[in-house]
């Protein structure tokens, strides 16, 4: 399963990773728009009642989705149908522990495998609690994609990397999604630190909104995540969002893909 993720980062240029929340707006059409716009990896958010790590934009998307009655089965169905339409585009589920483990980690891992999900990012399962989900995912060949943050010190980093696969998600700011962006110098330094410790691609997210910001980060990392800016378009334009999502994605993709790596 990780083959799709591996090839997404082996295109000889930085990757664009796009996040939207499942069940918010016409999700299938928005996902297609992300692919058409040039996204290399899709992160599909699983809505949760208590998104503790998210800022106002993604909180609102979670509420809109749950308000429409989105349940776990529908989220998995969206993933499954995406996989049928786009056999080669890597898809990662991102969310919080409780909806993932509610029916048991084996159940969730089996469903991910069955729906062609390549990896899972769980905000509130740190390596210390890996048993809650990690072994079940690895058993099914689904990547456990961990987060590293500015506070992840050298002492902890090996624990974060142990059992991780797919890519490392570097959270560039100590904070919640969609807020301020970190200074580029700090991002560059931390990405270098991570790359020194792992062969996995390092992707940078949190607070990245514009093509200019994305391009600047793409020069120093293997990939860039954009979420809140896309989610806001869906909130603003509703059923008409796909064209707006496609436009922003293609601007971001152009910026990210053409960013020359500073360090070989």
């Amino acid at each position: 399963m990780t083959a799709r993720l591996t090839s997404a980062f082996a295109k000889g240029r930085p990757a664009l990773v796009c996040f939207i929340t499942a069940g918010d707006g016409d999700t299938a059409a928005n996902l297609d728009a992300l692919v058409e716009g040039g996204a290399d990896v899709i992160e599909l958010g699983m809505p949760f009642t208590d998104p503790m790590a998210d800022g106002p934009a993604i909180q609102a998307a979670n509420l809109r989705s749950l308000g429409k009655g989105t349940n776990t089965r529908e989220v998995l169905m969206i993933a499954d149908e995406f996989r049928e339409r786009h056999p080669d585009v890597p898809l990662v589920l991102m969310g919080y522990a409780n909806p993932m483990v509610r029916r048991g980690p084996e159940w969730f891992a089996g469903e991910c495998h069955g729906c062609g999900v390549d990896g899972v990012i769980c905000v509130d399962i740190p390596p210390e609690e890996d048993d809650a989900l990690g072994p079940a995912l690895r058993e099914k060949g689904v990547s456990m994609i961990r987060l590293a943050t500015p506070t992840t010190d050298a002492k902890r980093l090996p624990a974060v990397l142990e059992g991780s696969s797919g890519f490392i998600y570097y959270v560039s700011v100590a904070g919640i999604t969609g807020k301020q962006q970190a200074a580029l110098g700090s991002i560059e330094e931390n990405v270098a630190r991570l790359k020194h410790a792992t062969d996995l691609p390092v992707v940078v997210g949190f607070g990245v909104r514009t093509p200019e910001q994305a391009a600047a980060i793409a020069r120093v990392a293997d990939g860039v995540v954009v979420g809140s800016a896309l989610v806001e378009l869906i909130g603003e334009h509703g059923e008409n969002a796909p064209e707006h999502v496609r436009r922003l994605t293609s601007e971001l993709a152009a910026a990210v893909h053409s960013a020359a790596r500073e360090a070989a």
Binding site: D50, M52, N71, P99, P126, E128, D153, V173, A174, G175
Partner: protein, 404 residues
Amino acid sequence: MTNQPNSFRNQPDERGHFGQFGGRYVAETLMPLILDLESEYRAAKADPAFKAQFEDLLEHYVGRPSPLYFAERLTEHFGGAEIWFKREELNHTGAHKINNCIGQILLAIRMGKTRIIAETGAGQHGVATATVCARFGLPCVIYMGSTDVARQQPNVFRMKLLGAEVVPVESGAKTLKDAMNEALRDWVANVHDTFYIIGTAAGPHPYPELVRDFQSVIGREAREQMLKRTGVLPDLLIAAVGGGSNAIGLFHPFLDDPEVAMIGVEAAGHGIESGEHAASLTGGFPGILHGNKTYLLQDEDGQITEAHSISAGLDYPGIGPEHSWLHESGRVKYLPITDNEALEAFQLCCKLEGIIPALESSHALAALPKLAKEYRKDQRILVNVSGRGDKDIFTVAEHLGVKL
């Protein structure tokens, strides 16, 4: 139960687990801080100066020990076991919450943190936190659901008088759970200088352990006071359980006394069958929220459902992880009590004992009609009167149809 542990008092394990419960389910940003907090707490626990300062403040600032009181008229009323009260409502700020806040602010200062945040439901923990922040001169931000801000105006004003900034939280149902989400969002963004004073024995390890340890002064005093006054240990302990800090504080020092039975009272709101309640153990399932694995009110997809209780302090869809463990091990029994039963107990305690109990504590008192008769007259039931009810008179008046 099979495989009974040798002791019920040696949890959690080194990873912060109480059996399958507890743990550290937090975002990576917070993990290094949580680990620091744990090592700092271990150091503080072993430091006689820390213990001395904590105890000095409990005695001279909080007013401990709190009295042990024989509730003679309630005893007569029920005609069963002797009813005794642990009078936590007589503490400074009017509830047990202050015990924990004193301990945590001393830890915050020890760790060099310069800013305090907290969540609050009824406002009691917010007031206690604002109080210790005033006492130690630290800036304080309290997150409170806007629904709770509206129904707990006196406490909001108290917090402001004490110098705290009260931030109304507009997300979700705008109650305690949402206030906790918002406090966590603040913490993750200000992790370098901010200490989060969690108000109950829940959250990521080491919070459930350290809150329990700070609150265990309740049970240690009660044990000593009972032995001194009656020569024996109580036969039954009763305490209300929201997150469960007053209950675990009372229970923990007695857990290895097999002759002492214990009942935690959960808020059953309009009744378990109505679906509108806050009884996580009776009506919930194990899950992960706010940093720990514990019983939660949730649907089949793991979405957290809204709690309901007349008592804002019990209006939370989870419970401290040690209670989940004590529940599954069978050492403590948990009993649901409805809003109406609590209201009746509230009034009865006012009339017969001249004590206005908090609505939280009224849930514990409401277990007495069912239980007092099950015990002989020479047996003793000890109820934790965890807080005073002055803050609740508006809510009670409304439910009794009285216009103030």
